[in-house]
Symmetry: C2
Amino acid sequence: MAGQMREGVKKLFEEANIGHLATVMPDGSPQVTPMWVDFDGKYILVNTAEGRQKPRNIRRDPRVAISVTREGNPYVFASVRGRVVEITTEGAEEHIDKLAKKYLGRDRYPWRQPGEHRMIFKIEPERVASMGAV
Amino acid sequence: MAGQMREGVKKLFEEANIGHLATVMPDGSPQVTPMWVDFDGKYILVNTAEGRQKPRNIRRDPRVAISVTREGNPYVFASVRGRVVEITTEGAEEHIDKLAKKYLGRDRYPWRQPGEHRMIFKIEPERVASMGAV
């Protein structure tokens, strides 16, 4: 339940920290990559693009895990298991610009590819472990 | 194959960067937590303790993934999929001290628990993706 995310953990996802999102490959093995993260008050949000491995994996198996350490002090961290409860393209272009502002201080996401379609994953936290995140 | 790790990627595991190690839970869902990492010239090494979730998961399914970003510049990163080819307690106490030196500048690992048994996982890289790691 999202309620298990205490304030210090929410803050880790609100700050400009890098999350490492794990998904499951078709053969059942894990995959993990660094991502920008966000928190909307209920869900952890990540933003990716159509055609990548993550959407393929998540549409087949929505169970994910994400771990995040604080930039500059990795001994403050959270490790969350949960599931993607929604995949949406609505607002996803604006959302990647918002993340570019948060992480890069840029008004627009500078790494758009021609024909790229962005999407937001909404992750519902189910199990949360943390250290130092008070 | 370990040969797929180019020099810049090996360096990411040799530096005092945090790796995020993903394993598979008994129900097939992913789990990921931050870890200290090391590279021995062939394998990526991590050090954990008996009784934790990681050894339980890895003994059942040795397939893992690990992503690492450079401390201070997370846009240099590597994402590796592979498998744990060996779990050993041999040298594991000295190895956690070595990691304490690397990450904390301490001669001995300061967070030992009474009765704790350390172990090393040796991860053979099979698929390597990276950005900026030249």
